[in-house]
């Protein structure tokens, strides 16, 4: 009985998407970069966005936390619902939105500050910690969850930029989860990392999945197949095909998808 209740709960959660994009179009001036994309993102799931370079994956991803707002000449139309509220509504506070929808970038970009300050920055500006002990705890748990604590606990004051590339990227993930987001967006987070660091980040994402909805842009078919539950294939600004990762990789419905995942173009 107990078990069926949780199962039922999981099913309803599956049914209601955490975020859903409805007919999103993005234009950079005359360049129509994203053409009418609708996509649902669920909690406890990793969604991969795959497709050849320049097909609008990053652009779409950046719509999800309105990072495109600051890009000159960029115009977004359509709706993106976060818990059924349109994030492009007038009365939405962008600062709060970005605290709820965190982002990890392609190139590790720690602040040129100490490791501690890197992680503590988000909680500080959002007032999440009431005192130093609180903050210390947030920093420690975030680093712990990012799998970095053991490596850096003795040098919290050294600059984050002095870490290795893989460590820097995990620091950026720790920084993102320190503000308690609900969704994490990752734009090719492993493209600058070696295979060992990549494996660490992938393990980390798999663990984080239990609490967040994760979206990852990746160029590696293997990575998408390994870690994600859902996959969306973009081509020339259009969403060609989306579905369960296993289905996309074993039985793609669209010819372009098949060509792409078998490496015939891209």
């Amino acid at each position: 009985m107990q078990q069926s209740m949780t199962e039922f709960k999981n099913m309803t959660e599956q049914a209601v998407p955490k975020m859903s994009a409805r007919d999103i179009h993005v234009r950079y001036g005359d360049n129509h970069a994203v053409k009418g994309i609708s996509l649902d993102l669920h909690l406890n799931e990793i969604t991969s966005l795959i497709g050849p370079s320049g097909c609008g994956k990053s652009t779409f991803l950046r719509c999800l936390n309105r990072m495109n707002d600051s890009v000159a000449g960029c115009k977004v139309t359509g709706q993106i619902l976060l818990d059924n509220k349109n994030i492009y509504d007038q009365n939405i506070d962008v600062v709060q939105l970005r605290a709820r929808v965190g982002m990890v970038f392609q190139k590790p970009n720690p602040f040129p500050k100490s490791i501690y300050d890197n992680v503590a920055y988000g909680p500080r500006i959002h007032g999440l910690a009431h005192n130093r002990t609180d903050l210390d705890e947030i920093v420690e748990t975030s680093l712990e969850r990012a799998g970095l604590w053991q490596e850096v606990k003795d040098r919290m004051d050294s600059p984050g930029t002095a870490l290795s590339g893989g460590q820097q990227q995990r620091l950026c993930i720790a920084r993102a989860i320190a503000v308690n987001p609900e969704v994490i967006l990752m734009d090719e987070p492993c493209s600058a990392l070696d295979p060992i660091a990549t494996a660490k980040v992938e393990t980390l994402m798999d663990e984080l999945k239990s609490e967040y909805a994760i979206v990852i842009v990746t160029h590696s078919m293997q990575q998408a197949a390994r870690i994600s539950q859902k996959t969306a294939f973009f081509h020339l600004g259009e969403l060609v095909e989306q579905g369960d990762t296993t289905q996309i990789f074993t039985a793609p419905r669209n010819e372009k998808t098949r060509d792409y995942i078998t490496g015939r173009f891209g």
Partner: protein, 438 residues
């Protein structure tokens, strides 16, 4: 046909290739040689300039004094015990101290009796000798009635003779210092009473008509007051403009127009800013002439474009990835700027500001226009006092006829150059201290 398409390995030993390599090496060598000679040429001009100024300036920091036995005669200056302290001080202020020197000379040169010659004897000494004696008495009234050997400042003409700047082989008529003076000076020298020593007055006094009494302190204080005004106006306005233009301004025709005009302002000759200051600050606003306040405001206008351009460049140099990172965490635009962009841009902003200030420190033309070129003896005490500035002081002295002002001019140039070098060194030091890598 197919033979032509055959790709043969390059024969690096062939005479043609060897010649090619040799030619390339020769070209490299020649280029290095040109570069080196250009650097050497520039460096030697700089050394020549600095060397010449330093050589000219060195005597400017020295001054001749002559030791004289002075009897502080109570009959001349009064008796502090009898008259009381205040009355004595009043009396000392009114008494012509040269009478003490005259009495001393009458004893030392007992053979000189002619009235005109006795007067000429006094002119061996600087007008500052009076103040020297007066200050001694005011500091210690109890020396009244005693005799003392006092080292009195020589006049600038005598000073020039001692420093070897006067050609005494010229016929007497063409010389300012005549044979009689030379013979008197010789007697002092024979008695070992003439000395050349470091002239601290040069660093502590204001301008004067007498070269041996003139100093740069007045001009230095004027420059400091002026630069202070320049800094507190130009730095905040410049940095805020740069932040606004770089981070917040919408990109449209209007901001483009402002941007072009700021760049144009940087190229406007400085004298134009002087005319503007004259018309607006003195004419329309009615602020006082010759004041550091107005000078500082005028120089601020001139420095603004420099600071804005330097600040914008260093704000622009902050990598976008840092902005993305902060924005992605939910930092507001202002937090992004003040927490991340400014700290990283700060070394560049600081360097730009210091270089702008150094330019302002060396600027003469705009200050001439707003009247900071007057002959001012007093050290300015406030932003509205009449004042002059270091480069203007140099200009004024360079224009003075006395030979002694030549070395004062060079000395003042050396002081100004020192300030400029210190400021630039500071800029470099701060830059290295605050520079972080990302």
């Amino acid at each position: 046909m197919s033979d032509d398409l055959n790709i043969k390995p390059t024969d690096w030993q062939s005479p043609e290739m060897v010649r090619h390599t040799q030619m390339r090496n020769r070209r490299e060598k020649r280029f290095k040689l040109f570069g080196l000679s250009a650097v050497i040429l520039a460096a030697s001009f700089l050394f020549l300039l600095l060397g010449k100024i330093t050589l000219d300036a060195a005597p400017g920091f020295l001054q001749t004094s002559i030791e004289v036995d002075i009897n502080f005669d109570k009959a001349v200056i009064g008796d502090p015990r009898q008259m009381g302290r205040d009355a004595f001080i009043e009396n000392v202020r009114r008494t012509n101290m040269l009478r003490l020197v005259q009495a001393s000379m009458d004893i030392y040169f007992s053979e000189v009796t002619d009235r005109r010659d006795r007067r000429r004897l006094l002119r061996l000494f600087s007008a500052g000798a009076r103040d020297q004696l007066r200050n001694m008495l005011l500091a210690d009234p109890m020396i009244a009635g005693t005799s003392k050997r006092v080292s009195l400042l020589a006049s600038d003409d005598i000073d020039q003779v001692i420093k070897g700047h006067t050609d005494i082989s010229l016929p007497e008529l063409q010389r300012k210092v005549k044979n009689k003076e030379l013979s008197w000076l010789q007697k002092f020298e024979d008695d070992d009473r003439v000395s050349l020593h470091f002239h601290s007055l040069f660093f502590t006094s204001g301008d004067s008509r007498d070269p041996e009494l003139s100093g740069i302190w007045g001009a230095a204080v004027g420059s400091a007051l002026t630069l202070f005004i320049t800094l507190i106006i130009a730095f905040p306005v410049g940095v805020l403009s740069a932040i606004y233009l770089e981070e917040f301004a919408p990109k449209n025709r209007f901001t483009d127009f402002i941007e072009i005009n700021i760049n144009n302002l940087a190229a406007v000759p400085s004298i134009v800013f002087g005319l503007l200051g004259l018309a607006v600050f003195l004419g329309t606003m009615g602020l006082p002439r010759s004041a550091p306040l107005v000078g500082g405001m005028t120089l601020a206008l001139m420095t603004l474009p420099t600071i804005i351009i330097a600040s914008r460049a260093s704000i622009k140099a902050v990598p976008p990835s840092i902005r993305d990172a902060a924005m992605g965490l939910g930092a507001s635009p202002m937090q992004v700027v003040f927490h991340h962009v400014l700290p990283l841009a700060f070394p560049g902003i600081l360097t730009g500001t210091i270089i702008g200030m150094a330019q302002a420190l060396g600027e003469t033309a705009p200050l001439l226009m707003i009247g900071m070129v007057a002959f001012i003896v007093d050290i300015p005490a406030s932003f509205t006092d009449a004042a002059t500035a270091l480069p203007v002081q140099i200009y004024l002295w360079a224009d003075s006829p006395e030979r002694a002002f030549v070395e004062k001019t060079s000395a003042a140039i050396l002081v100004l150059l020192t300030f400029l070098i210190v400021m630039n060194a500071l800029a470099i030091w701060l830059r290295q201290k605050f520079e972080q890598d990302w």
